[in-house]
């Protein structure tokens, strides 16, 4: 798992590294020139323009060397240093972006955006899974019933619509036709205002509704399929012959046996949705990691890109790990003897 993390990092750095170097170097050239031209005494000291140019170039080279930019980004020294810094969660300073409180420290920016993304997507995922499991169990209870057929159809149809498109429609319906919810999900109140949390929740409603609407059908369908498989097992038949009511079998016994795969997929979908957050947050203008990532990409803010990719990968891997642990917890068969 650690290896995957390192490879992800390496890939990210190698993809953005060379671009970043050019940007940084141009920045330095600009800075040095500005400094020198501001100070008129220096330029007056030279008679020949060529000589002056030479001096400027020399200054630039000096500056590049002190910052360690004379070596290419893939030199082991720089690469190792960057990797080490990231490992100890020191992402450095952002070049362009800043957090709401004005800090340009990447760690602080991410720390500020992270809770909002987590809030939005865990809320949505919890709602989805509750609705999905109940609906799935209900439709597996009566296969071929109306509930079952509607759920299956809804699952197939809803999963082929892109979430962000439904988001645009929702904004159109609920922010334009009926003005119930705000179109932008970023609250206009300052974060230190006491009403901020309430405003945030209110602004969160539309994205959550959208994500739930798209997600729960597929969930119900998944749960149904697991349940159908389990309902054909011998022990369920045994319970049936014992005369236990079907409802009790479904919700008590079958659902518990369907738990391991459901939990695994839950954990995976949660982490998967973090990646999808980039587009969803862009549509709703939700002030979370996804939008931060998108903004960072559009202005090529390397430290932020590396930092967020790293965090996203870490989260993804952690959730895979948790899924494995939970699987063991719910399914005693995979537990090791010690």
């Amino acid at each position: 798992m650690f290896g995957v993390l390192m490879i992800t990092l390496l890939l990210t750095i190698s993809l953005v590294g060379s671009n970043m170097d050019t940007i940084l170097k141009q920045g330095i050239i600009y800075q040095v020139r500005a400094e020198i031209t501001e100070n008129t005494t220096i330029s007056q000291a030279f008679n020949e323009p060529e000589e002056f140019e030479k001096f400027v170039q020399q200054k630039i080279d000096e500056r590049i060397k002190t910052l360690g930019l004379d070596e290419p980004w893939y030199s082991p020294q720089r690469l190792g240093y960057t990797m080490y810094k990231i490992l100890i969660l020191d992402f450095g300073n952002a070049t362009f972006l800043a957090s709401d409180s004005g800090s340009s420290n990447v760690g602080e920016i991410i720390l500020e955006k992270m809770p909002k993304t987590v809030l939005l997507f865990t809320t949505a995922t919890i709602i989805i899974s509750v609705i999905g499991i109940l609906l799935g169990a209900a439709s597996s209870n009566k296969i071929g019933s109306k509930t079952d057929r509607i759920t299956s159809t809804f699952a197939v149809i809803s999963s082929s619509f892109p979430v962000w498109w439904i988001g645009m429609l929702m904004i159109f319906v609920f922010a334009f036709v009926w003005q119930i919810f705000p179109a932008r999900a970023t609250p206009s109140i300052e974060p230190d205002d006491p009403g901020y949390i309430l405003a945030l929740l209110y602004h969160m409603a539309l994205p959550v509704i959208t994500i739930v609407l798209i997600g729960f059908g597929a969930w119900a369908y998944l749960v149904r399929n697991f349940m159908v498989g389990i309902m054909q097992e011998d022990f369920i038949n045994a319970k049936k012959t014992m005369g236990i009511s079907k409802k009790k079998i479904v919700y008590r016994h079958a659902l518990r046996n369907a738990a391991p795969p459901i939990v695994t997929i839950l954990a995976l979908s949660l982490s998967g949705s973090l990646g999808g957050a980039i587009i969803t947050e862009a549509v709703f203008d939700w002030p979370g990691m996804g939008r931060l990532y998108f903004e960072a990409i559009s202005v090529m803010d390397l430290p932020v890109i590396i930092g967020s990719t790293y965090i996203l990968t870490v989260l993804f891997l952690i959730s895979i790990f948790i899924a494995d642990l939970l699987y063991g917890y719910f399914d005693p068969r995979v537990r090791t003897s010690n």
Partner: protein, 451 residues
């Protein structure tokens, strides 16, 4: 893994209603694509981002079929060509271009523009007037064409926003009580501000001495608020053309990504499973690494840093979509390789590549087709998502691109539903077609799912 023959699959498939629906939709989409490529000139999509091309179209106008649904008729955007009459009187030649409009709408048009291109010599007098349904004639403009001794070609546009027009109308206003503004004056009833419906004739008269002007091109654009089958966007582009061009592009992207990733995944997985031991271990670890990479962030980085050309994008999408197929086909090949005929082939000393391509892969073909169909929608939506973020290939009008523009111009918050709804529905319908086909195939190959 069951061995179903091709004939059986065909027979079963024709029985499945879902599968047939999918095929039906797909056939429709393919027909649309072919007719688009055949009928609509390619220049339209090359000019998609060229604002000059769309100058004579209206801005964010609703589709014109909306008029069939509502009682209030929205003025349609019209481009009218004239009838030209030539009369000679006392050596003065009058060339009259007459534009007839039947105006039956409940709202004023936004503007009108005359565009003419003429060939003439000497000096000519131009007079523009409108004959209204109530018999009133309004003089709009009197001007001359620039003097020229030799024969020249001259292009001229007359706008309804012209100050001279407004002034001329004001002079006539004393006798007729009209409302403000050129458009309102021309199109309202006498005495009040209500719209006057009926047939209007706009006339451009050119008077010349002994020599007629030669009208090369001439049209009148009556700027409306409704246009075409799909309406237009903020940049005056005809959305119908964008949507039509999006169809072959989406099919191309979806199908090539899925075929590419299925072929790669299949061969990778089968080889890994067949070889087993160390090779298998190494190949599967590599598979795991790709699996653990967050796909979308990487796609974004790739699109930004390397290139957003549509062909490279297809390649990038493949990188992240072959992984699952490789896993499944590996486990399938693990089963197949223990079958006797494979072992027999091995004992006979056949080459590995021959065993894989001759004996194992054909067994997996039905599965391959099902997974091609199933993985198309994901490819289409991912590409649309990337385009939506503004990372698509700007030279191709894909559906995602249209939605990206809609989002940047705040279409949802301003209520431009015709800009948002059709591209999304097309994305979903295309996806559904493949999901239907894939599910139908899947349930034939894995009878276990069919309960």
């Amino acid at each position: 893994m069951s061995s179903v023959s091709t004939d059986e699959i065909k027979k079963e498939f024709l029985k499945s209603r879902l599968g047939l629906t999918g095929i039906f939709i797909l056939a429709g989409l393919i027909i649309i694509s072919i007719t688009t490529i055949a009928i609509i000139p390619t220049s339209t999509f090359q000019d998609w981002n060229n604002p000059e091309k769309w100058i004579s179209y209206p801005k964010t106008s609703v589709p014109s079929w909306v008029n069939f649904l509502s009682s209030d008729k929205i003025p349609e955007h019209k481009i009218i060509s004239p009838e030209i009459f030539e009369t000679k009187n006392d050596g003065i030649i009058l060339v009259s271009q007459q534009f007839g409009i039947s105006f039956e709408y409940d709202d004023y048009p936004s503007d009108f523009i005359f565009e003419t291109k003429t060939k003439y010599s000497d000096s000519h007098l131009v007079q523009i007037k409108v004959l209204r349904p109530d018999g009133v004639t309004l003089e709009l403009l009197s001007t001359t064409l620039p003097y020229s001794e030799t024969e020249t070609t001259h292009s001229q546009r007359y706008f309804s926003t012209d100050d001279m027009m407004k002034k001329n109308l004001k002079l006539q206003k004393n006798e007729l009580d009209f409302s403000e503004g050129t458009i309102e004056t021309v199109f309202s009833q006498l005495g009040n501000n209500e719209i006057l419906k009926g047939n209007y004739i706009f006339i451009i008269d050119t008077y010349g001495i002994e020599e007629a002007i030669n009208v090369l091109e001439s049209k009148m654009i009556l700027g409306g608020k409704a246009f075409g089958i799909m309406g237009t966007d903020e940049l005056r582009r005809d959305l119908a053309i964008g949507l039509l061009w999006g169809t072959p592009l989406a099919l191309f992207i979806g199908i090539s990504v899925s075929i590419g990733s299925v072929v790669v995944g299949l061969i990778y997985g089968v080889y890994s499973g067949y070889k087993g031991k160390k090779t298998d271990e190494v190949m599967m670890r590599f598979n795991d690494i790709i699996y653990a990479l967050p796909a979308l962030p990487f796609l974004i980085i790739l699109a930004v840093t390397i290139s957003n050309s549509i062909f490279l994008m297809i390649g990038f999408l493949m990188i992240f979509s072959w992984v699952g197929i490789a896993k499944v086909s590996r486990s399938m090949s693990l089963q197949i390789k223990t079958r006797q005929y494979v072992e027999a082939a091995k004992i006979m000393g056949q080459k590995d590549s021959k065993i894989i391509f001759r004996h194992i892969l054909p067994q997996l073909l039905p599965y391959a087709f099902a997974s091609i169909a199933i993985s198309v929608p994901a490819a289409i939506t991912t590409e649309a998502g990337l385009s939506f973020l503004g990372l698509g290939d700007p030279s191709f009008p894909t559906w995602g691109q249209i939605l990206h523009d809609a989002n940047t111009y705040g279409a949802a918050a301003q209520g431009f539903w015709w800009w948002i709804v059709p591209p999304g529905i097309l994305i979903a319908v295309t996806g559904l077609a493949f999901v239907f086909i894939g599910n139908a195939l899947d349930s034939i190959i894995n009878p276990k799912l069919k309960r």
